[in-house]
Subunit: 424 residues, 2 copies
């Protein structure tokens, strides 16, 4: 069986999901865990609390794949209909499961509750059900049907996630030993290059068929996912390492990070590693750049602080921008961006002062300076550079891409300073 | 047809979804919009980039329901396979759609791009496709198959959400006129009261069976959803209005807003309506409160700016906090919070100065001041109040609930000042 892909389906049950009131996070969590453990998810379904639809989906899944995971509808209230649906669809009458019933009774006894509690409904399970977690209070269960394991888990995200990790994955590994694919996976995080341009550069590669590449715009970034699995039973590591090197070389500095790395984490690490401190003077981003930097634990080691100068008076009084300069050039101008960056740097004694002034919209634009016009300044002890940008999108998007661009300017400055890049 | 429920299915496509790498948010958004417009979602499916699986799911959906919405796989890159799958499954060859092709060529011309661009792939659509948004650059399309409308939308959440609201819902309403259930729905947004306490207060109500109430913790808030549908053909409006009044009365001021209102929008409206200006002095939130306020268009009318004092030097030099006070009481203390609030208020001449200083963690806590210890100061011309709080959770959660609490303190101050509440 080595190298065969074991396929599964995930079925999530609940009217709160099909009416869009609650976001279904458990299916995605389960898919990620299963993918990383070497299985493949064929499809994920979300279905309301309807026994006939649940039964249909379950039977179809059992016919198509090697294992099925069902979440939701196991609780004690009247709208929990999964067990009833399973019973009818798989022709397995529900009976009190002695193991689970005794657990529930012990629990009821412990909390001095009436022995005939609605909680006892939890023990009425389709014949053949086996508790996933016989020690725990709230247990999902497993059925073996048509020689395939079917797992039933509660819909509550934390419980489902724990049962999945601690009980479902080990049982699957025992049921299908040696059948998991070893998987190599890397996410390349790209800023300042369009999805199409990334695609065009990578398309020139002659990659092996086993290499799966995906492109995903995740505003304001582009993510490139590279996945290799040992489909023919070969160790994918050497091929994977080679492909990663090629992608890194072809894209270069527009890759700001990999996998779980965020832009603020990468910038924070560069600041820490170069022993540099930074301070911000923000106008149109309203503090977003500072906030992003401070999401990283320990950022007080390199981030001194910032001024959100949302009024001209604050630019003048807190950043020492010349009032006459604001009047002659406008608050949104290269000259004011330069003065803001220099003002915050000298005021805080930081190694780097970054400033941003712009028009986030939706109002406030002019013909000369439309919405999306943004100027950045980056001041150091040696010099102060200024960049004009023109972004588009909603107010929220302009604020987000402006913050990202500001962080990226710090990143590129520090890469260049530390000699880790040749481009400017 | 009045009162008949029109049923739909949603199919989301992409390996990034079935491998759990990207959370599928568009299906839930679509389900909510459709539910609110009076339709019912029968099932939601998520499928990888496999033409055969996509085709199967599409055919099955067309057989089961009245309309289908398909998202994802329409882009210009090599892994976008939806059109190919639709073409085979529905036996409709792909051809360049003249309407869309001319739009793309006009766009390419505008940006001076080569006329044979990968973007032209976007125009190769199954025969019968009609652009959803013939004026826009990125368009989804509609097919009428077996006399049922099928909508194909890109996977990018923002584009999908906009096309859904602006083009899919109006087309559905035309296609199935008068068939929607009239639905009354209100979301009550609650801060500073636990889900269980909200539940306990509302449970004393004797609401009609047609009234559906749901409780959802959405960190750091609690949302209460109230839904009434005209299942028996009666106008639900009077019952709905009555239920809303009762909920508002029972919960009072802990309801900060309804439906789409955010805390920063509510606070912004109060500042505007009372003619008040505000300035921030933030430590542990790193600019998050300022940023939240500035997400609202026009916020420069009442928000003057802020200082993110992430170092003691900034507290001293920019907020005029006494160095000796920091040394004796600590940067995280009621006394420093008070001095920060007064410092930013007098420095900016704002009506309200709000300060926050605390320990967001995961490190930096002490026995006396553990992680999650936060002090707020609110200074006005008349007085300065200080509040100590103790939050728990991750760094991100502590920053978020701190920002929310800071905004809520401004809200409560302004409500009291304008005589709109009796509680303190």
């Amino acid at each position: 069986m080595y190298g065969k892909r074991m396929k599964g389906e995930i079925i999530a049950i609940g009217n709160e999901l099909t009416s869009g009131r609650i976001a279904n996070t458990t299916s995605g969590f389960a898919a990620r865990q299963l993918f990383e453990a070497g299985y493949e998810i064929h499809a994920m379904h979300t279905i309301g609390d309807s026994p006939s639809l649940i039964g249909e989906a379950l039977k179809r899944a059992i016919d198509s794949v090697d294992f099925v995971i069902v979440t939701g509808g196991l609780g004690p209230t009247d709208d929990d209909l999964t067990n009833e649906a399973v019973s009818v669809a798989l022709n397995r009458p529900t009976m009190p499961n002695p193991e689970i019933l005794s657990l529930i009774r012990a629990h009821l006894d412990e909390i001095s509750c009436s022995p005939v509690s609605p909680l006892e409904k939890l023990a009425w399970l389709p014949v053949g059900a086996e508790a996933l977690n016989p020690q725990g209070k709230m247990a999902g269960y497993q059925l073996i049907h048509d020689n395939k394991p079917i797992f039933f888990l509660p819909g509550v995200p934390r419980q489902t996630e724990k049962l999945l990790t601690d009980h479902v994955l080990p049982r699957l590994a025992t049921w299908y030993p040696g059948s998991r694919l070893s998987t190599c996976r890397r996410l390349f995080k790209i800023f300042d290059m369009s999805e199409m341009e990334v695609n065009a550069r990578i398309a020139t590669l002659n990659l092996a068929d086993d290499v799966a590449i995906g492109y995903y715009p995740v505003f304001p970034e582009v993510h490139l996912s590279l996945i290799i699995r040992d489909i023919r039973g070969n160790n994918p590591e050497p091929l994977f390492r080679n492909a990663c090197t090629v992608v890194n070389t072809l894209l270069g500095d527009v890759i700001y990070g990999h996998d779980q790395e965020s832009m603020e984490l990468v910038v924070g690490s560069l600041l820490r590693n170069t022993g540099s401190t930074v301070a911000m003077a923000e106008s149109c981003t309203g503090g977003l750049i500072s906030h992003k930097i401070t999401t990283i634990p320990g950022s007080s080691d390199y981030f001194l602080g910032g001024v959100t100068s949302y009024s001209n008076a604050m630019k003048i009084n807190y950043l020492h921008v010349d009032q006459a300069l604001i009047e002659s050039k406008g608050a949104v101008s290269a000259e004011v961006a330069k003065a803001m960056a220099e003002g915050i740097r000298t005021g805080t004694n930081a190694d780097i002062g970054l400033s941003v002034t712009g028009i986030a919209g939706p109002d406030g634009g002019t013909e000369e300076k439309p919405v999306g016009t943004v100027f950045f300044g980056l001041a150091t002890a040696e010099h102060c550079r200024v960049w004009p940008f023109k972004f588009s999108g909603s107010r929220e998007q302009i604020q987000e891409i402006t913050a990202f661009t500001g962080l990226n300017l710090i990143r590129k400055y520090l890469l260049k300073k530390s000699g880790r890049t040749t481009s400017s």
